[in-house]
Structure formats: structure tokens, C-alpha cells
Symmetry: C2
């Protein structure tokens, strides 16, 4: 939990304070003093009596009481300092820069745990270790990176990598992005990304909090807590962009089923972000562009006017917007002609609106007014305007400033002249704006942001036969379940299965066949990849064929029994699920056969799955046209697919022991969806 | 053709010269004077006797002879000036800034044509109109944009958009990119991108020419000439990156076949670039990153060491490299341990090589030496190194400088501290280096560059029966060919077709059926989408079925005859071709059915197709695993696929009248590939 002393300390001690600003303890003191911290500041350094004009004590023991300690000493000295501060100086907040803790091996890990324990004993907050610090409205407690302009409505930031935070600022500041609170959580010994989200969530106040949250993580320790607070923040009106880096599990694990190969923690991260309504970014520059878009009022549609004095960039921007699913609608009619008459001869208003290299501020104002008031087919405008270098463009950026403030529709400024219009762009930033420099990077990111869906609400799963599910699970040990139990679980979850019987002799087979009726499918029970060992025979039409195949199937290595099943037809659908700790169960769906095997065309969601989430899983498939039905061929009922995904999700909630399962295939039509083969692996 | 007077003028007249550098005629004069043009400079301006210290004439008629005229006057005054200069002043090179020509409508177009005619009458060169000018080693004849540092080994550039050129420089200069010759060709009235390529090609000298060429185009007027010179340049050792913008044809054309929907000029551009060995870029920043990579010695493999003092950026970089098909191999062994011992405790050398926030210049030098000399599993290194802001990093960048010069393996520097290390980065540029700022953008681009294939050589197509092909074509008017003729063309090209007969009565059908043998397929002849109208019947087993279906098929609207064909089995393959002026014929291939219809999984190449090019078309398909054979099922012979693509290409070369065709499906196996349905449209 984050204490008030971390956010609003009235006094700060710098342990390891220095006059040398090339040391963390020197630089953080410099930053605190330079940026006008209003409270008391003390130094601790056995070699100094004063540092940078501040009173310096030789040890923590000599300090008066302090709210916050910023600790920049060697790892082996930290524990003693913490004890003194926590137990004797009433200190409730600690920022620990030092490295050499859990990231450095077992003894560092033990030391880190002892430090957390000390802090928790006094109900304090520990940020770090191995971090660059904290920035709040109150103080700038960081030793690294450019200190950004503080803006109470600027971006809130949390990063598990100090270097990423530093280099994010290096990219963000030149685009005019402003920042509010920054937390570099380092090793997250006590306070991690989830805690910061919780703090933002619980203190959120639309009038006084920032609505933009930027996150950098390399792991998500508690995905459910992460989801809870992220979703809540987005529902309160926040917009969150996050990088989750470190997707290196590929190929390294044993794969016992398709699901094993298709799932993976990276898919779980994306599924988690979708559930929470977070936009996932993959680079610093993408995060900066998304954040800058977040500072501008949201688009209410996908129809963009591209306004420029520069032909080429307008063309490239149009290309990428259309490719990303946005529209750049043709503009025509009396109002368009009226606008055209106000521009230089040779201009075009048909969109892109090109008002030529000689286009001026007055004309830009006219264009933006027409876009805002007259062109109902347009939801927002992108303005690309730089300079040839022959004249200053202050007047143009002044118009941009005014129109961004007054227009109802959003206006996105792309100001590409980083060198020649550096001063004008800087001045534009001081008026409270951001700018983008590369039109194509912008267009790509805008179309991603515009597709972002709101979080999925809490889920009401269908009711399933929990006692029966528990009974089946309790009766099994770890491993693959026998087919009768697989069938029982699916039925208990309300998932329709093809009628079937497991038999252990030819005579039993013939009795069962009569009950089930021909045609039948015969499958060997035992081997995991039945098809690969010739263990599946279709189109069994009579008793003779049963007899002929029974013995052959039982001769296959690993054969335990034979499964007889009514033969069904339909489109092959695949559904699967996999435990993906710590994210819970990842549910996958797609079409079966080559679609899943060759094209890896599957969608994923984390259980429990919301019905709208399931519907979007289906619509996101590249093979969705087949589900809809193509070329006169009927497809598969989306309603049944959604229902079955939700039932699968309910089964997984009732049986957390299921570590991996797939139903492959279900045979689907507009009328029915029937599971004809399934495997379930449980781990107790 | 580009005259020596354009490249090395001994005298320049600025028509429209001005003292006002906010005018093109003032700014270009300023740039020429400032950057030390060694020849004579004159102004032409009726209102001035001297401009910026240069002698000024009141009209072109008063000028002495000049090599080059740079013309910055209103469009309506241009023709008279050109006549005077061309016919009376021995002027052989003209750069025309003025707008108001072909881009402004019919009268502008006529004026532009007259201007070209004047210039061609004297064997001169005309650059523009509607351009920002030319930069050579001799003079800086541009009015817009930052004038880059001239480097005889820097990037050569040609752009059809002046604004794109200006903003490209705005992005490139801050990354340290140097430039050689720049041509802004504007409307390309006489000199277009192809002419500049031809000039570079014909004058290429490895010792004195730049090997990096950057292009921006919105159209490619003469793709075959473009290909000829681009391929030749790449074969001589050049590396070319190009943007072709303006891909807006989507959805706007009538689509009469799959091929119509799948092809398109944008696919043709990509196919042309692949043929020439050009890397296609989509944004200015991507072009800048590619160009910067081109300045560094090429990677000889795809195995990268990621070296950093900054954890997070190293992780993000590793993610994107692996996603892009590069390897970041695990490094271990005695030499790795030896290196680790030289770094601070807590460092890692297992790759990423993380030498911590406290890592220094000496350690970076050690790491780079080990990578270069000891780690054979590594082909090149990326170094991410910025600053916390606590100390300068000159010494680190000095080491980078030395190692980039001396190491055998390429080293790519990512220097993210644009603000805090601005001076050090600048100094690094002055030592002749580029740098990248965003590690993920870099990783994405590097993996693209590393996949670039050399140009495909000139093509030897298989020999086809040209007389027979010509005979069939000559016997038809524009439109879809009848099935016998389709069959004849495919056979003349050596493409195997299923045995077939076209019949016009039930009696004829029965005779033909006996010859062909059962089972048969019956298809209506006439309607284009036969399946959609119930016009295809498979599995015809006997004469009764022939009789039963013949009359039904002939009753379909548009039915002209019935085609009987031997029934074949195999994997459905799709091949198609489409005239894509001015690119010639685009050939497409993929698997048939849903692969082409739903997944749009096709590869394209421009005819004539080289055998290696055809092989890569196949391997590029997402459905390639099916062609290879999956799960024990046999695939389709790649050799037969390649052969058939080449035969199709040969057919198209022999019959340029074919404007659109598809063979859908061919039925393929490891032994045969047989066309069972095809359509050919010709346009005379």
C-alpha cells in the first residue's frame, strides 16, 4: 500500500547524499532542490556536514524524524539504515535506488525480503530497490533522466525498468508530452505495477486526476488484481497504454497438444489487456504516440480529413489510415466548392485537403472551420504542416492552437520540421499541445487506438452441473482423463457431444453399435495422437466392419479400448484451453483442421469469458467468413459458438484442475455444434 | 538524359533572383552562395541590379551564356525565359521551381509540354517543374529544407515530392545521415525517377559513387526501365530503399474474377521491387532507418548480440528481433565466463549482454572484442547505450567509434538519449556515424533489411508453341475465350489439362463421354461463375447421368454448350494473371478454394518470372506447409508448381493480349499438376 508520506512528504532524508551530481545521491538531491520541494531536506553522509547547502548527518541514527527516505548507498548498508529509519525515525516511505538485491541472486533476494519486512512492520511503503525513483507534484525524487514538466493533467507513469523510463522521457519530451506522477518500481519488492494501479484507482477523481496512464512491465505478478484496477480506471474514464516486454518462451516448452503450441503467456497478456480495455504497445515510440493521441479529445468515428500543404506526406498518411481500417472520405458538394474558392488555385479539397506549399494560416483556419461545421462526413482532422525553411510558421501554429481548443472534432497536429521549425514547435508545446513528427507512425497508431474496445464487464457464466464436474475430477488422478470422463465433463457443462460408447471386446462393440446406429466412427483409446497411428476409422456401415477394425485398433501400441461414436458432419470447429499461470485459463477458438494447424488462426480470451468477448473472439478470426457462410454454403451459428465458449469457461471455473484441454473437432452448422473428439488433462 | 551542365555547371543564372530569402529565388541564391559554389552566379530580376551581392540582369536576354538556369518565376513567364536561355544563351540545364503546370490542369499540361520541347530541342535537361531543386557536390540549388552535410559517399536521393524530401531531411539529419546528390524531380516533365536511376547506373564507379540510393515516388511511369537500372545498380553493389505511395485503387474497380480482386498496382509495385532487389518502405522514418543500416557493413547472418546497460530496451529489442526472424543466441562457455569476470557483478553475458547501469567504456570495448573475436555464434552486435544524465558518455561513444571502424562484424548503435546526450551524439555523428534512437523501430527494420534478396537475374522462359498461341489469339476478338481455346492455349504452353470435350447435344455428350471415360465432370459453358448458378456437376458415373444433366445445364441462362472433363483429384491450386499497366502482367499463385477466397493467401510476381522467383512465390505462401505435406498427407510438387508458373509466364509473353486469366483449380500432387478449370480474357 502506498502511504501519504510517499506522495506528500513534509520531510525527506537523502541517505548517501553527495555534492557530486554524477552520483545518484548527489543528483537526486540536486533535482529535489532545483524543482522546489517545499518541505525539509536532510542529507546522510558520514563524510559531509553539508551537501549542496543542505544539513548532512553522519548516520541515520542522528536524523530527526522524516517522512520519506531516499536511499542511495551500497546494498550491504541498506538494512541497517532501514532499521534506523523505520524503527526510530517514524519514516513511512522509502525509495531504494541501490542495486544488488533480488536481481543479483539468492543472498540479494534474502536481503530484499528482510528489507520489505522491516518496512511492512511499520506500515510503510518501499519503492525499488534497483529503481530511479519517484516524481510527484510534491518532489522530484529521481536521479536519472530528464525531469519532465510537471502537469497535474499530464501522463501518470509506472515502469519496472528505470532505463525504459529514462528513455521514454527522452522520446516523449520532444513531442510536447507532459507528465504527472512517475513511479520507477524497479524490482517491485513491495510495490509493483498492481499497487500503483490500485492507488490510482482508489484515489481517482475526474476533476483532479490524470486520465492517462502509461505502464512498462516485464511481468505481471497478479493479473487478476491488475485487471480489477485497470478495468475500473478505464471505466472511470482513464485511457491506459502498456508495454509488456519479454516474450521469450517461444519454442522452449514441451508441447502435448495444439493448445500447448498456440497458447503462451504472451497471448495471455494480450487477452488480459483486451479484457481491461488497455492498448498494448511494443516500443517506446509507440507508447509516446499513443499517449499523445490520448491527450487529444477522442474521435467519435473513423472518418478522417487529411489536411496538408505537403502532397507526399498526405498521400503516405492516407495510405496507412486506409490500411488500418480508417476512412478518408471523398469530400464534395456546394460547401466543398465554397471552401475551394477560398484557397489558392490548384488546391484540392476532395480529401486529402491539399492547400499547397503556399498555403497559409488564414486558409488553415477556414479549412478547419469547414471540417468542424460543414463536413458531417468527417469525424476528425489530421494536419500535416511544416516549413520549407523560408518563413516562420508561428501564425499557422497559432491557428492550430486556437482550433484545437475550440473545434468540436479532434485535430491531430503532425509537425515534421524538427530542425527548421524547432522554435515554433517548442512554442506550440508551451501552449499545451503535443505534436507528432512522422505521419505514417501516427496513422498506424491512430488506427490502433481507434479500434480499442471498452473493458468487458464482470461475467455471468452459464450454470453448469458443478457436483457432477467435481465428482469426475475427484475420481481421477493427474493425467489425461479417459473418454467416458471427458464426455461426462462436457455433458455436465452442457456441451453437446456425439453419442458414444467405450468398448473393450468385439462383442461389446457390436451391442453398442446397434444402440448407436450406423454410420459410426471407431477410435482407439489410449494414444494421444490417434490419427497419426491409424487409430481413427470413419464410415463404419455394418457389423462386419466393426469386427474387421476392432482387433486392428486394439493392436496399436498403447491401445486400452475402442470408442464407438455416431458419425456427424459439419464444419470443423476447434476450442481449447490451457492453464497459463499466473493468468489463469486461456481459452482458444477457431476452425479446426488446417486452420488451426497451418494458419494458427485462433482467438484467445482469459476465463471467465464475457459473451461479448466470446463474440469478438469469433469475429476476429481470419476464417470468420467461413463461419458466416461463403459462396452459398451455410456457416456455423455464432450464437452456438458463443454459448459453447461460455460453457467451456464455466467448466474451467468449476474444475481449476484442468491444465489443458481441447475439443477438436466440434462439428458445427447453423443448427447444432457437437463435440466429437476431446482431450482433457488435469493436474492436481 | 542528364547533361553535365546540370551536375557540374560552371555558371548558374537564378531567374527570379531576390534579396528576400523568404522567396524561392532569394533562398536558392542564398544557399548557392553560402555553400561555396565555385563558378559564376548571375541573377535575373527586372527590379534589381544586384541581389545578395551578385550581378543582376533585368531579363534573360541580357545574360551572358550560362550552363544552368534555376527558374523561380510565375508559370506564365517561364516559356519566354526558357526560349531565351535555350536558344540564345547556350543553356543546357534547367531547374524549374514554379508550380502551375501539369498538376494544375490542361492548360498547365500544355505549357509543360511546350517547355519540355524547348529544352529537348537544345539537348538540355529539365528538372521539375514544381520541385525544390537539386543538390550536387558542385552547388546546392534548392530553396527548401535543411541543406544536409555533403558527403561523396552519403545517400543519393530522388523524390517526386518536394515536401517529402524536405521532411525526410528533417528526420535524417538528426540521426547523422549524410547525403550526396539530391534530385527533387517534381512533376517529372522530362526527368523522372527512371532517368535519375539510369544516370546513377551508367556513371556508377564503386570507388567514387555512393552505394546508397533512396527513392520517393507516387507513380512509376516506366517500370521496365526502372527495373533495368535498379537491378543493375544493386548488382553493382548498391543498396536501394524506396517508398511508392498512393495505393488508393482498392475497391474502385470492377472485379470480374478472383485475380481482379487480388492483384492491383500495389502488389505490382512490391513485385517489381522484389525483382530488382529493392527494399520497400512505407514511411520517412522507416526509409531513414533503412538508409542508416545501409551505411553500416552488412550482416553475414541473422544472429545478433544485444549489448546494453539498460535492461528494458534490451528486452524489447530482443522481442522484436526474434519476432522478425532474427536470432539472439544464448552465449555460454569458457570465453563467456572470461568476459563475465571483466564486468561488474550482476552483469549477464548470456545475451542480451547486460553490463548494468554502471557499465563503462572499457567494458563495452571488452564486450565488443569478445563478440568480434570469440563468439562465432554471433554475426553482429546492437549496442543500446544512453545516459542517466549523471555523466557524459563521450568515452563510451569513442569506444563505439573505434570498434565500428575496426571490428569485422557490424555494430549498430542505438543512442536513445536525444536530450541528455545530445552533444555526445552530435559528436558521434561528426566522426562519421549514424545512430538509431528507438530500439524496436530499429529491430523491425533490421530484420526486414536482413531478409532482402538479391535481384532476380534476366529470365530464360520455357519454350512454348508460339505459332499455335498466336493462331488462337488471332482467331478471337476481345472477351472471354471459349473453353476449347482456353484448353488450346494451356496445351500450347505445355500446361497439362484434364482431357475434355465441348458438346452441343446430348448425343455428342454420350459419344464424348465414352472416349473420355467415367467418372466425369460436366460444366455449363457461358456463365462466368459456373458454381454459383449450379453449373458444375461432379461424379458423373454413367450415360444416364449424362442425359439427366445435359438438359438442365443447357437451361441455365447464358448456357452455350456443355463441357465434359475427366474427373481428377488432388490438392486445389490456384494460378492467375492480370495485366497491370504499366507494370505488365502480374502472375499470382496460391492454393485454391478458401485459401484464395477467404485468406487471400496468394503470392505475386511480374512476368517474366525467374525460376527462383517462382520458387520463392510458393515458399512465401502461408499455406506452404500444405504444399510441403502435413500430418502424413502428401503435398504438391514444388518443381511442378515452379514449372507451371514459368509456362504461364511464357504464355503471357507470347500472348500480350491476355488481360486477365485464372486457372482455378489445378489439381496437384507430388506426381502431377493438371488444370481442370480456367478462364482467359483477352483485350485487343
Amino acid at each position: 500500500m502506498i502511504t501519504p508520506q510517499l506522495l506528500q512528504p513534509s520531510s525527506i532524508a537523502i541517505v548517501g547524499a553527495s555534492n557530486d551530481t554524477s552520483k545518484p545521491g548527489g543528483k537526486v538531491l540536486f533535482n529535489i532542490l532545483k524543482h522546489g520541494f517545499a518541505g525539509k531536506v536532510f542529507g546522510v553522509n558520514p563524510k559531509e556536514q553539508q551537501v549542496q547547502g543542505v544539513l548532512c548527518y553522519s548516520s541515520c541514527d542522528d536524523l530527526p524524524d522524516v517522512d520519506l527516505a531516499i536511499i542511495a548507498i551500497a546494498a550491504h548498508q541498506v538494512e541497517a539504515a532501514l532499521r534506523s529509519l523505520a524503527f526510530h525515525k517514524n519514516c513511512k516511505a522509502f525509495i531504494l535506488f541501490s542495486a544488488g538485491f533480488s536481481e543479483a541472486g539468492d543472498s540479494g533476494k534474502a536481503l530484499e525480503q528482510r528489507c520489505v519486512q522491516i518496512v511492512e512492520e511499520v506500515g510503510g511503503t518501499l519503492i525499488g530497490p534497483n529503481c530511479i525513483g519517484v516524481i510527484t507534484g510534491n518532489y522530484k525524487g529521481v536521479f536519472a533522466g530528464p525531469v519532465p514538466t510537471y502537469d497535474p493533467m499530464g501522463c501518470d507513469c509506472v515502469s519496472a525498468s528505470g532505463a525504459t523510463m529514462v528513455y521514454l522521457l527522452e522520446s516523449a519530451i520532444p513531442r510536447g508530452l507532459k507528465f504527472r506522477d512517475i513511479f520507477s518500481v524497479g524490482n517491485s519488492a513491495q510495490i509493483g505495477v498492481e499497487d500503483v494501479l490500485e492507488y490510482w484507482d482508489e484515489t481517482y477523481d475526474p476533476a483532479h486526476s490524470s486520465s492517462i496512464k502509461l505502464l512498462y512491465m516485464e511481468q505481471i505478478a497478479d493479473p487478476m488484481r491488475f485487471l480489477k484496477h485497470a478495468r475500473s480506471l478505464v471505466n472511470k474514464g482513464c485511457r491506459i497504454a502498456a508495454i509488456k516486454a519479454g516474450n521469450t518462451e517461444a519454442g522452449s516448452r514441451a508441447v502435448s497438444s495444439h493448445t500447448g503450441a498456440l497458447a503462451g503467456s504472451d497471448a495471455a497478456v494480450s487477452a488480459l489487456f483486451r479484457k481491461a480495455g488497455i492498448i498494448r504497445c511494443y516500443s517506446r515510440i509507440e507508447l509516446v504516440y499513443v499517449a499523445a493521441i490520448f491527450t487529444i479529445k477522442p474521435l467519435k468515428g473513423n472518418r478522417i480529413a487529411v489536411i496538408t500543404h505537403a502532397g507526399g506526406p498526405g498521400v503516405m498518411l492516407t495510405d496507412i489510415l486506409v490500411k488500418g481500417g480508417m476512412e478518408v472520405p471523398h469530400i464534395e458538394g456546394a460547401k466543398a466548392d465554397e471552401l475551394l474558392a477560398k484557397l489558392h488555385p490548384g488546391s484540392s479539397v476532395s480529401n486529402p485537403i491539399d492547400f499547397l506549399a503556399t498555403g497559409n494560416a488564414l486558409q488553415l483556419g477556414e479549412i478547419l472551420d469547414y471540417v468542424d461545421n460543414e463536413f458531417d462526413e468527417i469525424d476528425g482532422a489530421v494536419v500535416v504542416f511544416g516549413t520549407t525553411g523560408m518563413w516562420r510558421v508561428d501564425d499557422v501554429y497559432q491557428v492550430l492552437h486556437e482550433k484545437i481548443k475550440t473545434c468540436r472534432k479532434p485535430i491531430f497536429p503532425i509537425l515534421p520540421s524538427a530542425i527548421q521549425a524547432a522554435e515554433e514547435v517548442s512554442h506550440f508545446h508551451t501552449m499545451g499541445h503535443v505534436n507528432f513528427t512522422d505521419e505514417v507512425s501516427f496513422g498506424y497508431v491512430l488506427s490502433r487506438v481507434n479500434k480499442l474496445q471498452p473493458p468487458y464487464p464482470e461475467v455471468q457464466l452459464p450454470i453448469v452441473d458443478v457436483p457432477r464436474i467435481r465428482e469426475v475430477i475427484e475420481n481421477n488422478t493427474s493425467g489425461y482423463l479417459p473418454p467416458e470422463d471427458v464426455n461426462a465433463l462436457l455433458q455436465a457443462a452442457g456441451i453437446v457431444t456425439a453419442a458414444q460408447a467405450t468398448v473393450r471386446s468385439e462383442a461389446e462393440a457390436i451391442v453398442a453399435a446397434k444402440e448407436l446406429g450406423f454410420p459410426l466412427v471407431m477410435k482407439v483409446v489410449g494414444p494421444v495422437h490417434k490419427s497419426d497411428v491409424g487409430g481413427v476409422v470413419i464410415d463404419i456401415q455394418n457389423e462386419q466392419e466393426i469386427a474387421a477394425n476392432y482387433n486392428r485398433l486394439m493392436a496399436i501400441v498403447g491401445a486400452e479400448a475402442v470408442l464407438l461414436q455416431q458419425q456427424r458432419s459439419g464444419i470443423e470447429v476447434y476450442m481449447g484451453a490451457k492453464a497459463e499461470p499466473p493468468f489463469g485459463k486461456l481459452i482458444l477458438c477457431g476452425l479446426g483442421g488446417i486452420f488451426v494447424e497451418v494458419f494458427k488462426d485462433v482467438s484467445a480470451a482469459l476465463s471467465p469469458v464475457h459473451s461479448e468477448e466470446a463474440a469478438r473472439m469469433i469475429r476476429r478470426l481470419r476464417s470468420y467468413p467461413i463461419i458466416q457462410g461463403i459462396r452459398g454454403k451455410p456457416g456455423v451459428s455464432e450464437e452456438l459458438l458463443v454459448e459453447t465458449i461460455l460453457k467451456l469457461s464455466a467448466l474451467l471455473e468449476a474444475a481449476p484442475e484442468i491444465s489443458e484441454m481441447d475439443i477438436n473437432p466440434l462439428l458445427g452448422s447453423m443448427e447444432s455444434l457437437v463435440a466429437v473428439d476431446a482431450r482433457i488433462l488435469i493436474e492436481r
